[in-house]
Symmetry: D2
Subunit: 329 residues, 4 copies
């Protein structure tokens, strides 16, 4: 039985705690949070102990892995500390908002030779993973063009946006990872444009809410990403990859398969509301993969280099938006 | 913490054990199975004890509820014994293959005043339950006509069919329950016809593999049920209810939302393969409901009378098939 | 150039006139209608002449074919007269409301050796015809079970219903034809039940508005037909055939392929409203087939025997409904 | 009855001739083509006369309108000549490959005060037009982001590509028109990138086969267009517009509504194969609109200024591709 410490008892921390609980061979020993009550409550639900001090689990030799689900600004410090303590690492995206810091984390993880998984949960989603498997099996030939639609049901509070690092690092970081994963190639050029269309406060906060990004890869493959902070109909998470022999599309998931036909229309359910619902299975599979990494030595499917590369694309997109010009990678 | 005993460590027993494990306020104390190894193995996975003797859990005053997931021929005896011991009861369908025996169980449960839930899991399925809720809310007006499509991916072994009580009691028992539940009315007339089209051995075993059943209710509502033991494309579980103001349809669930477009066709996933996959969520919600019954006193949504009524419809259908005439209820 | 006379300048007559106009090798010479104005108006639109007397076109040797689109009660007399005059015949369904009269028509057509097409336009519909072609090509193996959903958007006026011959001869006659066509087998047993659920005046007129019909064929294939005079969402024309190797479904047609996703639902267009819209292409293809029959000698795809057989099924269904018992054919 | 002359008896000319034939109030008098046989054949089919000399119809005072469906390099000359002769003009897209020439045509048409319709047939497509109507009615609020997917089933011959003016003027000209029409705003910035992925001969011909274009409008609305010369599954013509209150999507049209479910997959028809099938209705509605322009004085829905504006966008895209930089309009 391998002991694990969870940092962060918030929304996503609770998801991870629940998923860790059902993994064979691992045990949630510590839960750490700046909010002691939150830590205690979650700990009691999972027979774990709330740790007052973030160092305590790192100092505990029985703890072999940490799950970092704290706020973004703490990720890099936590990764560096965990690597130093030779713990296996699961860390939520992004590694950091600064590329240089993220690179330092990559180096530290490499030097410590600890396994490290970055929480790009979309790669573990049953629909996305099945599509990727079929693509790799050659069902639609060589990948040529990827269209990603990525829209949130509504913008987060302005206070969140102000510290988010901007829409590219906060929201599109996932899409950049999907782009690299699906196209199987690295970006050569990134062009980003965008607008603030939903709420002028977002502009006042120095950010935008609607973006259109184009990536051309080294082999000439093309990717277009369209995102919005607000889709009135809910969380819209689709992509499609055109290959030389056909097209593979990943559609939204619906809560039920009810169809209503009335005098007005033929209608179906809206997409599952937001990421906690949409990626419920993905989070579970992701954590099972992390458990396998630490119990069986499996390689991370989404390593810390992937975290760095996605961040570099986000940085390039932000630069392109500001300059109005494409950025060569 | 309420202790529960599970009878049956087979395929469905394992599902129930897993679902019981995640219910707050209850604890799986005993697992009983004629196969002692199976009982031991499942018990060890859930920190329960394997009981050698079926009477032991009934005699244990700490046990307040039993889950009966043994073979059909043992259901009635188990219900009678559990009722006598004043345990809350969960029992898989059917209550029994004989209407008289099922009626005796209804009486015993009533006399003992114990809560009893029959495992018509379809009523707990998210799609079916959402449809029912919208129907009850009047979205499509008064229910008029119900079409049920219920097809298995393939026939069970002949040995199973021989002891199954026939297709109406084994397979359509669920559809009869759906009919009563959705139409909100009792059958006045039942007409059933059918054929053996997939395997002559089924006919030799005294059964059929394809049926077409029609029910007219007391208020004149109509129901058609079509079933087959073999749908080459998988488990087909759909129904649609025509109301005075529209139509509600419950469609199949798919494993993923991938769409492939190639030179041949635009294609989607086959339906989830069989009942363990298709009703995975339904089984979990059903068990959560049972837990609520015993911890909070909730009323059973699918009571033992429902088990009896569905059986009576199955019996009538069998009689109709044999006589070639409609049967009045 | 072959001259044709059209009897009936009503709704469906106009459709046929328009379709005849675009067939090569044929010319609409006469239009006959009890309403002289209607005949004149339609004739002028198509450079034809309005005939005051129904006999005139039959007496005109240049006329080699007649299209009968008059009211049902005139069909048999018109067929008999046209057969006697040795004209090729297109006649709308039903041949007649009385089986004996329809049989007399079959005999007269056979004796006169004139080609005769009965207007079961559904067989010419692109979706239905493509399904049949794929079924015949063995794509889903042997046909086993056919489910037909056939619902009108609303009931016709009571005055129409009173003279309609009842729902089975008026509305289900098409479904009985589809049953024979798709299953490729003749009925052995017919069971019909039904109710009046939409308007008590229909019951007062001696008819019903909702029916559930079951047919078992000589080879044991099964068919269920569900029909209603009122589907609040429009004209619902679907069927599906289960075969030994899969399922083929024919879905409704929509006016456009617009999908709207709003805060309420994901919605699509209602089905095309009624038969004139839904079967617009079918009527055109049907008339092209009739033109081919008379210009090139093609065999009728829907002959007068098909008209008789469908009527016999309708008669059997009516008898079953009245008696409450299945009818053997 | 208004006489019309048709220039061009090729593939699209034949479509226009057929559609003109069924318009009330107009008559096809002349058909002109450099291939005299083609002109004669088409003329004989529609009771028109083949004109040997392109000037003859222009000199004929009874001719009030011309339909120009000749090769692209003749469009501008034809428009100038027709404007001079004061004929109403229908001209296929593009007006010309050179922006200056197109502008001269706009000026000539304005000076002559003749009605002029450019054949952007997509605006007349039932699905696209219904979407636009619902958008204008406010169903999804203010338009924010438009995603256009526009893929051909296969590349034309290299000889065609060499004279086509490049993918932006030949293929995306339609998409640029859709962009302006749906977003209701003019482009401020255009960025285009692309690759040759399907056939190196296309690159040798100085063109590309895959493009990703981004447009930001003056009001900050965003548009992404993805196109390919080759979609193995057929002609893919979709777009979706995100508005402040929801999403409207225009999907592909299918030949039939057959769904097949076999052991392999649940599958539907491929999209209608290419533009002649997909836009069959659009061409008919477009020509009816042109007839209405000349018989009733209706305003062109797609005027010559639209032709010019789309061409300017195509020119900008080509410039952007070459320079690797966005182009400001």
């Amino acid at each position: 039985m391998i002991d694990i410490a969870l940092y962060g008892a918030g929304r996503i921390g609770k998801i991870h705690a629940g998923n860790l609980a059902s993994q064979p061979g691992v045990r949630l020993k510590y839960i750490v949070d700046v909010d002691a009550n939150a830590a205690r409550e979650l700990a009691s639900r999972h027979n774990a102990q709330a740790a007052a001090d973030a160092q305590q689990p790192l100092a505990d030799a029985s703890v072999q892995a940490v799950v970092i689900a704290t706020s973004t600004d703490t990720h890099a410090d936590m990764i560096l500390a965990a690597a130093k303590a030779r713990k296996a690492i699961f860390c939520e995206k992004p590694v950091d908002l600064a590329v240089a810091r993220a690179r330092a984390c990559v180096d530290a993880v490499a030097a410590a030779k600890v396994p490290c998984l970055i929480g790009f949960q979309r790669r573990y989603d049953p629909t996305f993973a099945a599509l990727k498997k079929r693509l790799d099996a050659g069902e639609v030939g060589d990948p040529e063009m990827l269209i990603i639609t990525s829209r949130d049901p509504g913008a987060p509070p302005i206070a969140y946006i102000e510290r988010s690092g901007g829409i590219f690092k906060d929201m599109l970081i996932h899409d950049f990872d999907v782009c690299r994963w699906i196209l199987g190639d690295e970006a050569a050029v990134v062009f980003a444009t965008g607008s603030t269309l939903t709420d002028p406060k977002i502009q006042a906060a120095g950010d935008i809410d609607s973006t259109a990004v184009t990536i051309r890869t080294k082999r000439g493959r093309l990717c277009q990403i369209n995102t919005s902070r607000r889709a009135a109909y809910g969380y819209d998470q689709r992509f499609e990859i055109l290959g030389s022999k056909g097209l593979l599309q990943a559609g939204n998931h619906k809560p039920t398969e009810v169809v209503a036909q009335t005098a007005q229309a033929v209608s179906q359910d809206l997409p599952e509301h937001f990421f906690l619902e949409r990626y419920r299975q993905a989070y579970a599979i992701e954590m099972a993969h992390f458990a396998k990494m630490i119990t069986e030595g499996a390689s991370p499917k989404t390593g810390i280099e992937d975290g760095l590369k996605a961040l570099e694309l986000a940085e390039a997109a932000a630069t392109s938006l500001k300059s109005g010009k494409p950025v060569e990678m």
